[in-house]
């Protein structure tokens, strides 16, 4: 595995209307890892992800992706799946594939079509005619069809049935290269525990733990899910 600083976050703070959402976040993520960004609802996971993806502006601090500030270069290598449906619903799936192909040099349209075909999704269908679940699958396929260096998946398992969760995890595992890293944000820890190399626990806007997943399990002699439950017991 190559070990280099893929993502570096220094003293990051984010406030909304004088309410501090993220407090002094410091984080380093290297290549070739699957990282679980774990925390309760409202802990600040999505805010952190949106900051990395230029959807929010930091109050202070810096975010570097391969040494570059967030901008065109960082967006070329980050493939981001938001927690909501965000594609233009007036478009057909085939048009969205064309759109991704136009803007992302690393987008593999053949792979996208193959994955969609496996899911029995018609590429000539308009998104408006698809259910929310189908739209989410299309989004996942598009995101995973890029040969990105960093995949950021915000709650990819939220609101889907257990069978689909397995499918999503398999899709993630079988569609990213070894040099890439994947950050998966979720509160459904037991579902993703098996695939994680690293875990980051976030609570009340602060990173309370960053550890190798196996080391943490051995140290605490319990699963990540159990550790999380103990740590954040209400």
């Amino acid at each position: 595995m190559i070990s280099m600083k893929l993502l570096e976050i220094n003293n990051l703070n984010k406030s909304f209307d004088n309410k501090q959402i993220l407090k002094d976040i410091n984080l380093n993520i290297s290549s070739g890892k699957i990282i679980g960004l774990l925390g309760k609802n409202g802990a600040g996971k999505t805010t952190l992800i949106k900051l990395i993806n230029d959807l929010l502006t930091p109050t202070s601090g810096e975010i570097l992706v391969k040494g570059n500030k967030i901008g065109i270069e960082s967006k070329k290598i980050i493939s981001y799946l938001p927690e909501r449906t965000y594609l233009n619903k007036e478009m057909k799936v085939s048009e969205i594939i064309e759109y991704f192909k136009d803007f992302y040099e690393d987008f593999d349209d053949k792979k996208a079509k193959e994955l969609l075909n496996k899911l029995d999704l018609n590429i000539n269908e308009h998104l408006t005619k698809m259910s929310k679940g189908m739209q989410e699958k299309v989004q996942l396929v598009l995101v995973m069809s890029r040969k990105a260096e960093l995949y950021i998946l915000d709650e990819p398992l939220g609101g889907v049935d257990p069978a689909t969760r397995d499918y999503i995890l398999d899709t993630i595992l079988s569609n990213f290269n070894d040099n890439a890293s994947v950050i998966i944000s979720t509160h459904l820890i037991s579902d993703i525990e098996r695939i994680l190399d690293e875990v980051i626990f976030i609570d009340k806007g602060e990173i309370v733990l960053q550890s190798d997943a196996d080391k943490l399990r051995n140290k605490e002699k319990s699963s990540i899910d159990e550790i999380f439950r103990r740590m954040f017991k209400c």
């Binding site: 909304f16 949106k50 993806n53 230029d54 959807l55 929010l56 502006t57 901008g71 065109i72 270069e73 967006k75 070329k76 980050i78 981001y80 938001p82 909501r84 449906t85 965000y86 594609l87 233009n88 007036e90 759109y99 136009d102 803007f103 992302y104």
Partner: protein, 264 residues
């Protein structure tokens, strides 16, 4: 990347505007056909309906160009779709320029469609002579050439409407900055910016008037018996000021976008 962004912005507008273009021309053709038929009572009624529909579509062409430009700007940069827009490997300047050029193109296309519709519905030798005579009467009174009058009229109207569209863009940006997702603030800011822009232009024309007595007459007298040269100067000066204001607002919009966004 600007050309790629523009491609999708233009596609969006074509999808949404083509129906008004087609209907506008369709009712222009029906109007023309009905005018050329025997003028029975029923045909006259149908003619009037056709004329009404044509003008409704012409108004829709103009209003929808403005509204759709604002909606596209807002949805693409601040609604759900912004999750894709802001994560594309393109600069904020390109994002803005694409919307600006798209609006400019569709404004010109809309204007041409309106002219084409009117031409189809009403063109005849007699109508053309009446129109040119009417314009000549005005231009003779104003002591200017017909071509200069038409050119200046088009430029001033075009810049005035485009200035309003631009105020809307800046209003959307500042509105979202003030209170994310609340449309009311965007409308309020857009309206305030429009008023400020108009006041600035008026103020600058007044300052120009301090050095040109013919222009100052426009501020001093209520009668229309003023030097016609003042209108010429007013048209040229206000056009230049509109261009300056539009350029400044574009720069403010880009600067604000480059400072970063906060998407809910």
């Amino acid at each position: 990347m600007l050309n790629k962004l523009l491609k999708y912005d233009l596609k969006y507008m074509i999808k949404n505007m083509s129906v008004f273009y087609i209907l506008s021309i369709f009712f222009a053709i029906t109007t023309r056909i009905l005018f050329n038929m025997n003028q029975s009572v029923m045909i006259k009624i149908l003619s009037q309906i056709s004329v009404g529909c044509m003008f409704a579509m012409i108004a829709n062409t103009l209003i929808n160009t403005i509204m759709r430009s604002w909606i596209r700007f807002s949805s693409s940069l601040y609604k759900d779709e912004s999750y894709l827009t802001h994560t594309l490997p393109v600069s904020k300047n390109d994002l803005y320029n694409s919307k600006f050029i798209q609006t400019l193109i569709f404004f010109i296309v809309g204007f041409l469609i309106i002219l084409l519709s009117l031409f189809i519905a009403y063109y005849s030798k007699d109508n053309w002579i009446s129109l040119t005579n009417y314009i000549k009467t005005i231009t003779t009174g104003l002591n200017m050439s017909t071509s200069f009058f038409i050119t200046m009229a088009i430029i001033v109207i075009f810049l005035e409407i485009f200035n309003a569209i631009q105020c809307g863009f800046l209003g959307i940006i500042l509105g979202h900055k003030k209170n994310n997702g609340k449309v009311g603030y965007s409308i309020l800011f857009g309206f305030i910016i429009y008023l400020i822009a108009q006041l600035i232009i008026l103020g600058l024309v007044f300052i120009y008037g301090l050095f040109d007595s013919t222009v100052m007459e426009l501020f001093k007298t209520a009668t229309i018996n003023i030097d016609v040269n003042a209108f010429k100067v007013l048209a040229i000066v206000s056009s230049l000021l509109y261009l300056v204001i539009i350029t400044i607002m574009s720069l403010i919009c880009k600067n604000e976008l480059n400072k970063g966004v906060n998407i809910e």
